[in-house]
């Protein structure tokens, strides 16, 4: 059953949402999943991502709620005139946290929940992580395609993006270099080279950075094997690293919360997470591995578009919920 809901946030503003109530309860405990919006795409999400995911989770016996924070979707409130990337930074610093916390409280008044799981994609993932830190409201988090770097507010157009800055992992370096090497076997490529149709400056810059990253990562792998790391330590390297993400994650884990990270293979955010977060703070064999899982969905982009990819994502989420939260056999 799907039921439209309205509730007041702490500022007295009316927020709109949708409650998904399962017809058949499979589990002994009542698990509620709150899905946060990502940026400004409303509670429906890109290509109805949130609505379709909510329906799937509900069919699998979970209570789900989606909602629009203030100023977005159908909810009350104003939205200031600003650049979208500035809004991304605001989200990454917790713009939606208060409303998420209020939404969870409302969810709990509507349904007697045994466990609360927060779920979000991209900015939504950061939002629920920060909310869990601020409000201590969640037993578990499902973080999809979560960025660990703050948006670059200096960039106003796609042309201004410095692609080399995003090459930080071995996997991304390979993704940059491999097609270049393959292309050398095509006559068309040599034709472009000989007729000066290649942007040499850009190619040299990106390929050099990719090569540098590849070699330095190999060196790090050797170093890690010698100095075995078992705790979260290490310093972030990227100047735009979002420290709130790290602090929130530490707190959630320290309270016994469980976290599922899911990324798309084709999403550059995945490899930034790997190089700027996972390799530094969660190296293989660390003591906290029992609290989190990291999955990468093959052929998935940032928004997990595509039927096959969506099926994989949905099954990954439900499987994890069954194993880790509900603790029943799948």
């Amino acid at each position: 059953m799907e039921k439209p809901v309205k509730f007041l946030n702490r500022k007295g503003q009316t927020l709109f949402g949708m409650l998904y109530v399962p017809e058949n309860m499979h589990y002994a405990m009542t698990v509620g999943i709150l899905i946060s919006i990502d940026s400004i795409k409303s509670r429906i999400g890109a290509y109805r991502f949130n609505t379709l995911l909510a329906r799937y989770l509900c069919q699998n016996g979970f209570y789900v709620m989606t909602f629009d924070p203030t100023g977005t979707g159908d909810s009350e409130g104003d939205f200031e005139d600003k650049y979208l990337n500035q809004h991304f930074v605001d989200i990454q610093k917790g713009r939606y946290c208060d409303d998420i916390i209020d939404a969870v409280h409302f969810f709990k008044t509507e349904i007697e929940l045994d466990k609360v799981v927060l779920l979000g994609l991209c900015g939504g993932a950061v939002s629920v992580l920060l909310s869990a830190y601020k409000g201590d409201i969640a037993d578990a988090l499902i973080l999809l395609a979560m960025p660990v770097l703050l948006e670059d507010v200096k960039v106003k157009t796609p042309e201004e993006i410095d692609e080399t800055e995003l090459i930080t992992s071995k996997e991304q370096a390979v993704m940059v270099l491999l097609p270049q090497i393959k292309n050398l076997f095509y006559l068309d490529t040599w034709n472009k080279i000989l007729t000066s149709k290649i942007e040499w400056k850009h190619k040299i810059k990106t390929n050099s950075k990719a090569l540098y990253v590849l070699l330095s990562k190999q060196f790090e792998v050797l170093k890690n094997k010698i100095f075995n790391q078992s705790e979260i330590k290490g310093k972030p390297k990227h100047p735009r690293f979002n420290y709130l993400v790290l602090e929130s994650f530490k707190k959630v884990i320290s309270k016994g919360g469980k976290v599922l990270f899911v990324f798309g293979e084709l999403d550059f955010v995945t490899w930034l997470f790997k190089s700027e977060f996972q390799e530094i703070f969660l190296p293989s064999g660390n003591k906290l591995e029992c609290f989190y899982e990291i999955h990468v969905i093959k052929n998935a982009n940032h928004i997990f578009a595509g039927k096959v990819v969506q099926n994989d994502l949905q099954k990954t989420i439900v499987s994890w919920l069954n194993r880790v939260i509900v603790a029943t056999e799948v």
Binding site: I40, K41, Y47, R48, D74, D81, A305, K307
Partner: protein
């Protein structure tokens, strides 16, 4: 001002999600006898336009109008999958929304307001059904085929991301749909019915019912009119059709800056409705 979210059924008993914006009681009584049914665009434009529609609905409600926003079958929070929908199903859903307004809101006049593909659908609906007092189309799509072919580009871009090159070109994707499969475009599963029905729409060759009042709002920064729109207006020059050009950011695209206020657009649209109501009275 009261805002009520609810579900209602279309003629096929499929649940459609809607929100009714009820007017303030201290507003013009004549306006409270009119309802505006809002028709959304398609694909991601629907999400980009969402908040603009909400803001318009609230503005119109403060001016005394009932406003109904709804999701088509297979879209938003309505029942069904996107690939199960088509142009035909969308027109039927508009009819269901109009009927709902007519039977439940105690209004004497119903206007349709659509943005982009929603505007195109509104014009087609008003041509086919005699139930509405007027239509407003914000930046309607004139030649839908060129729009759908551009949309297919998203699939080609995805192939490049996965395989490093385009493996299946546009003709292949169209043949795939003809075989009964769907083509993924940024998450939406495009089916043959929607594609074929959509590409058949060319307003520049469509003479609309000359008696139906309509307002065509061209939202652009350019002073040069789109050729398709020019042909459409020329073909329908004898119709009760008003054209206005409004300088505004193209809010249906992914903008660098979020949510323009669109005050001029809203005011112009409502002024036209008020004029139409006065002329009827």
């Amino acid at each position: 001002m009261k805002e009520i979210p609810f579900f209602f059924n279309n003629k096929d008993n499929q649940r459609l999600f809607a929100i009714l914006h009820q007017p303030n009681t201290n507003t013009d009584r004549e306006h409270r006898r009119a309802a505006i049914v809002c028709c959304y665009p398609i694909f991601e434009e629907r999400l980009n336009v969402h908040r603009i529609m909400v803001n318009f609905a609230r503005y119109a409600a403060t001016q005394g109008f009932h406003v109904l926003r709804f999701d088509y079958f297979g879209d938003g929070e309505s029942e069904g999958l996107f690939e199960q929908s088509s142009v035909t199903t969308r027109l039927m859903d508009i009819d269901a929304a109009v009927e709902l307004a007519r039977t439940n809101f105690n209004v004497s006049s119903i206007f349709l307001l659509g943005a982009r593909f929603g505007g195109t659908l509104c014009l087609l609906y008003s041509n086919e059904y005699q139930k509405i007092a007027g239509t407003i189309a914000w930046a309607p799509l004139i030649e839908v085929e060129s729009y759908l072919l551009k949309v297919l580009r998203a699939n080609l871009a995805m192939q490049v991301a996965v395989h490093g090159k385009v493996i299946h070109d546009r003709p292949f994707l169209i043949r795939k749909m003809e075989k009964g499969e769907t083509v993924n475009v940024n998450g939406y599963e495009l089916s043959l019915s929607l594609f074929q029905e959509g590409r058949a729409i060319d307003l520049s060759r469509t003479k609309l019912d000359q008696t139906r009042p309509s307002l065509i709002v061209d939202i652009t920064a350019s002073k040069v009119m789109d050729k398709g729109l020019e042909k459409f207006l020329a073909l329908n020059h004898e119709a009760k059709m008003h054209y206005v050009q409004i300088k505004e950011r193209k809010f249906w695209t992914a903008l660098k800056k979020v949510y323009p206020s669109c005050k001029n657009l809203f005011a112009t649209s409502l002024e036209w409705i008020k004029c139409e109501l006065e002329s009827v009275n």
